[in-house]
Subunit: 232 residues, 2 copies
DNA sequence: CGCCGATTTGATCGTGGTCAACAATAGTGG
DNA sequence: CCACTATTGTTGACCACGATCAAATCGGCG
């Protein structure tokens, strides 16, 4: 009996490329692991020993300078793939933002398995290409957008990516109300801002009636159109 | 007889995954194209009709906001892959920075070919993973580094990536003198700065004796260690 | 209730952007 | 070959956005 049978992301993660017997063999080399909010899974610069699929929760990929400046370079959600296959070092840290469940593999085991299953590699390639597109778009935001535009873009992005994946794609059903899996500091680290600037922008959007912020992490989008205009 | 036989990047591009007979079939669906400096190959948001390998020259991937702010989100060199396979739209423009030669394929032809040649997809996956790592590192630069650090990092990166690829990897033999394939405006567009700031930083590095700038695009690194210290 | 970390708010500062003038270079045609 | 122009790059003065420093407030938890 395979754990994968009951896996929440069985049909969305790269595993969807595999049939039942193949899933069995993949299951044999993987194991699930639960992480608490704030718990690290991979450290920047470490040997690349692990890869994983996200089953539940949200994790950040981050990178920092020698003198302590930090930047979140990616955020991963259920069904996303984590880690650096076919390479010796992981260039970014991976840390859970919420309580999370991941399905981890030894990198070398996974590399071998992937090499024997082209359909899996194909899924991984598609996923990686999509992630590269998203990352490049984020570069435009980091380099050229104002603080206000950054915040607006970020909130719209989160309202889409946090939406439960049902029959329709998330893009079609963005959330109106959601809890950010980020502290103010982490929002700042995603957008290349400081915590104070993030805070000021949030309160401004609230004052203008575009948002409601009933608790520290809860966001309600009152006027999506206005937010889209601000996103630039 | 295959054109690929004489291809300069035959053993470095993803084509290296293919044997002679496979190269023949790939050759049958591709053609080479020459681009002049400044000539566009793909427009942002267009249907993804083309993919390509870079044979000679340097090209930029760029993205812009509605109101005209531009950001260069990637720079590609000989043997690099261009375009968005397995997807309907190319999210970024591709434009030649120098005179360039590329080997172009219809995206659908390429998709089909790749699906039948897992070794090719594997190479493409590796390349995409590496590019994603590089792009994420660049996010840290865009979001957190000062203008001086950006310029220093950029020049060091170029001194490595413009180095001719011989037996040793480029990383081991960075150039001391090279011609930038970028105008000042384009350097600004890579680093998320303005042309004036770029110009000021260049003259400052020259005054401090770290660089020589004998002509508009020529850079000579006089003190690499100092530059590395500035890169942060 | 009282403590501690997270967040908000306020005051001030500095980097890099903006606007403007000027200089150097490349390109063009007589 | 040189004048003339167009383009690109440099330099200067000033400004604004977001950073920094500092203090107050909120909220969760014992």
């Amino acid at each position: 009996m395979s754990y994968c049978d009951s896996c929440l992301v069985r049909n969305r993660a790269i595993c969807a490329a595999l049939d039942d017997s193949e899933i069995q063999s993949l299951n044999a080399i993987g194991r699930t692991r639960t992480l608490e909010a704030g718990e690290p899974l991979i450290w920047e610069g470490d040997d690349s020993l692990l890869v994983a699929n996200v089953i539940e929760g949200v994790l950040k990929l981050s990178s920092g300078t020698a003198d302590g400046r930090e930047q979140i370079v990616g955020v991963v959600f259920p069904s996303d793939f984590i880690g650096r296959p076919f390479g010796n070092t992981t260039p970014h840290s991976v840390t859970a933002l919420t309580e999370a469940k991941v399905c981890v593999f030894s990198r070398t085991d996974f590399d071998g398995f992937a090499s024997r299953h082209p359909a899996l590699e194909h899924k991984l390639l598609q996923r990686t290409l999509t992630e590269l597109d998203r990352t490049r778009s984020w570069m435009l935001l980091l380099a050229r957008k104002t603080a206000e535009e950054k915040i607006a873009t970020f909130l719209l992005d989160m309202s889409k990516r946090l939406a439960p994946t049902g029959c329709e794609t998330p893009e079609e059903r963005p959330l109106v109300e959601f809890d950010l899996p980020f502290s103010r500091q982490q929002v700042a680290d995603v957008l290349g801002l400081t915590i104070e600037t993030v805070s000021r922008q949030f309160t401004r959007l609230k004052k203008e009636g575009i948002l409601d912020l009933p608790s520290r992490r809860t966001v309600i989008i009152r006027d999506r159109t206005a937010l889209e205009d601000l996103a630039g």
